[in-house]
């Protein structure tokens, strides 16, 4: 750049400085002030509408809206807020999948704390629980999300390093193996809830660790923290075939999730909080799964905890899982 160019730029900046001086020096009349104010407000409104419109264009899939942007955390929402949110979710699901769904929000029952018993002598590794869960909870088929992982282990070891979760089997159970299904243990001391920076996941009164999918920022710290590999991330918008969408949905459980948020097993709270069994338990062909209220001394899980030699995975981490394994 030669001197003439440099001079030109110097002159330009001088002119700009002089103009700025003029603007700042002159006294502003009230009418002018009001005009300026209105202009600014109008400009801001126009800009925000334009921003919203542009955002909807750039992100057509997530159809940005200011309502969504200002939606509050689940714990802070009022009943009317929730109604609006559920209605919005239902409308969006109808638009994207062409399916009429009902989003409910069943609350935790009093005097109930859920626990799961899993009889490792009976599990035969059929994976019926895995696929029943996928169907019940509208999990993405592509990329594939499965909340439950069934690990084929050699009899005689609890070393998960030696397990294989990708086994195929013409006839299970195979000789010399046992099968260990793992899903979210709804820990009493959950590392995931501890580390979430925005409290998008927390433990409810009945023991279920839930996620507010509309609050999660997708940082995936909870996934790093979970010792049981229980959480899944939506790397892209989930794809569920229309005809397989389960229309009976819960806001904290199986409503259609957006891209970029974390999800996991939630003990089918839209079913269990109304007295029904979780889908995995219904599907198990051998009766290896037992579920119920640990606070009820007559429930099956209480009997299991009293009479069976139950253990939990990675007990030394003090996560206090609600998922109890035993051999019969």
């Amino acid at each position: 750049m030669d001197n003439t160019d440099k001079e030109k730029i110097n002159q330009w900046s001088e002119r700009v400085s002089q103009r700025v001086d003029k603007i700042l020096d002159q006294s502003v009349e009230r009418r002018g002030f009001l005009k300026g104010l209105l202009g600014t407000v109008g400009g801001a409104a126009a800009a925000s509408t334009a921003a919203g419109a542009i955002a909807s264009e750039v992100l057509p899939e997530s159809d940005f809206s200011w309502e969504k942007f200002f939606q509050e955390h689940y714990k802070v929402m009022t009943a009317e807020d929730k109604e609006k949110v559920f209605a919005r979710i239902e409308t969006e699901t109808k638009r994207k999948y062409g399916v009429d769904v009902k989003v409910r929000d069943p609350q935790a029952l009093d005097g109930v704390k859920f626990a799961y018993g899993l009889n490792l002598s009976k599990c035969n590794g059929s994976r019926m629980c895995v696929y029943a869960c996928m169907k019940e909870n509208n999990q993405s088929r592509d990329p594939q999300i499965q909340y439950i992982k069934v690990i084929e282990m050699d009899i005689g070891t609890l070393n998960l390093e030696k397990g294989d979760m990708y086994y195929e089997g013409e006839s299970v159970p195979k000789a010399g193996k046992y099968y260990l299904p793992v899903q979210c243990h709804q820990c009493d001391n959950p590392p995931c809830a501890k580390v979430c920076p925005v409290e998008a996941t927390w433990k409810e009164k009945d023991g279920i660790v839930v996620i507010d999918y509309d609050w999660c920022i997708g940082c995936r710290y909870c996934m790093a923290a979970c010792p049981y590999e229980a959480r899944r991330f939506n790397f892209s918008a989930p794809k569920v075939p229309k005809e397989e969408v389960n229309p009976d949905q819960g806001y904290l459980s199986n409503r259609m999730r957006p891209k970029g948020v974390v999800e996991k097993c939630h003990f089918c709270l839209h079913r269990t909080r109304e007295g029904k069994n979780p889908a995995c338990m219904e599907a198990c062909p051998t009766g290896a799964r037992k579920f119920g209220n640990i606070l009820d001394p007559k429930s099956e899980v209480s009997m299991i905890l009293k009479t069976k030699r139950v253990f939990v995975l990675k007990e030394e981490l003090n996560t206090i899982p609600s998922f109890f394994y035993y051999f019969d």
Binding site: M1, K6, I9, S13, V16, S17, V20, L24, D25, V58, L59, E61, S62, F64, F69, V76, K149, I151, E161, G163, M165, V182, P191, K194, V195, C196, P197, V198, E199, A200, W215, C216, I217, G218, C219, R220, Y221, M223, A224, A225, C226, P227, Y228, E229, R231, R232, F233, N234, F235, S236, A237, P258, K259, G260, V261, V262, K314, L317, N318, T319
Partner: protein, 402 residues
């Protein structure tokens, strides 16, 4: 008010006007940055599926770069401490550049976090009123607070001092000295908190070690001088600010102390893992020797070890360390070695094998590579213009009454 606006206009002019090499450098960086922006828009529209991240390896190149850059930001304390506590005037020349480098590093950190989020449109959820920050339980919430605090500190102190220098006024010591002392402790805290992100997770035994926070700080103090030596060499070459040899000496000494300590701490970890030989050591075994047929990280970590030892050797041999070309080479080796050890050698093996024994490997995808390159280019660009303006003010070219 008017003069402040004028100050900004003149700074902007200084930032965009310069010699031809300046334009070439800036254009190249801007081009790379825009490539990164395009790559990021592609990622934003399609989701993180365009990266090679998986449920099994859920943090990758972005978080690895973030971790390294927090160390670079913390290294500014190596200049702040001598200037304000030891009252070394030779370092005083460059302390503002160091703080501006910290500011740039933190900006890059925040950008890396933003591109890693699944829902960056929900970034307001970490803010005080609009959001719900899980402070003090979540270490990540602590990280949000300390990083933004450090960003503010490293914006205010150089900003105020440069403005006062520009005006030719003596700065009010109450407006910067307290902040400087806070920033010394704060620099240590940002890297400690970042280390605590990893070391507090019981489910990841590879990270769950008390030595992680000391390792982070020591590697920051080993790699920091190396970066500063490179930066100050460029400043001396291309600007009117001539960094004094005593500053380079000091940085060399710091590197000579901390490079071996870094290797010692890394060595302690290696010993513990391999001698204990428990199941939990599978991650390090995978890193150094491969496991179950997977060995993708093996060449990187061995290269990092070789580079770190080579850098140490060059630093310790007087003839080599006094040769400025060899010195720069040693600094580059040191920085690369530490970058690999902290990024691929720490973050990725923490996920391999997974807590349930699964093994899925990771290497950055094309999209991730261009986004990372874009952010690094943005950082270089930002530092270039900040440094140019700061040097211009410091040497007297940019003054209110000039």
């Amino acid at each position: 008010m008017k003069s402040y606006l004028n100050y900004w206009l003149r700074m902007i002019r200084c930032a965009i006007v310069g010699p031809p090499i300046f334009y070439i450098w800036n254009s190249l960086l801007t081009f790379l940055f825009l490539t990164g922006v395009v790559a990021y828009i592609y990622q934003f529209q399609n989701g993180l599926i365009v990266t090679n991240l998986t449920d099994q390896v859920s943090w990758g190149a972005y978080i690895a770069n973030f971790t390294f850059l927090v160390g670079v930001a913390a290294a500014a304390v190596l200049l702040v401490f001598p200037t304000y506590v030891l009252h070394r005037d030779d370092v005083k020349d460059v302390v503002l550049l160091g703080e501006l480098m910290a500011f740039t590093a933190i900006t890059m950190c925040l950008m890396f976090i933003l591109v890693d989020l699944g829902r960056p449109d929900r970034f307001t959820h970490v803010m005080p009123v609009l959001g719900r920050l899980n402070f003090p339980r979540s270490v990540l919430a602590w990280d949000v607070v300390v990083l933004n605090g450090y960003l503010f500190l490293n914006l205010h102190v150089p900003g105020y001092l440069l403005y006062m220098t520009y005006k030719g006024q003596k700065p009010n010591k109450w407006l910067y000295i307290p902040f400087v002392f806070v920033s010394i402790a704060w620099a240590v805290s940002i890297h400690t908190v970042t280390a605590f992100l990893y070391s507090g997770l019981g489910g990841r035994p590879y990270w769950n070690t008390a030595i992680l926070a000391p390792r982070f700080l020591v590697s920051a103090f080993a790699g920091g001088p190396a970066i500063l030596i490179i930066v100050f060499t460029l400043v001396t070459l291309f600007t009117k600010l001539k960094v004094r040899p005593q500053v380079f000496d000091m940085l060399k000494k710091i590197a000579m102390v901390f490079l071996p300590i870094n290797m010692f701490l890394f060595g302690s970890e290696i010993y513990k893992e391999f001698y204990t030989d428990s199941v939990h050591t599978e991650s390090m075994r995978y890193l150094f020797f491969g496991s179950h047929g997977h060995a993708m990280l093996q060449p990187y970590i061995w290269a990092s070890i070789v580079m770190s030892f080579a850098a140490m050797a060059i630093f310790y041999i007087p003839k080599l360390r006094q040769n400025s070309k060899m010195l720069i080479f040693a600094c580059v080796l040191a920085v690369l070695g530490i970058w690999i050890e902290k990024g691929m050698g720490l973050i990725i093996p923490g996920f391999i094998p997974t807590p349930l024994g699964d093994m899925v490997e990771y290497t950055p995808s094309v999209v991730e590579f261009f986004v990372c390159l874009g952010i690094w280019s943005f950082g270089a660009l930002l530092f270039t213009i900040l440094a140019k303006v700061a040097v211009a003010i410091q040497v007297g070219e940019l003054r209110e009454n000039s």
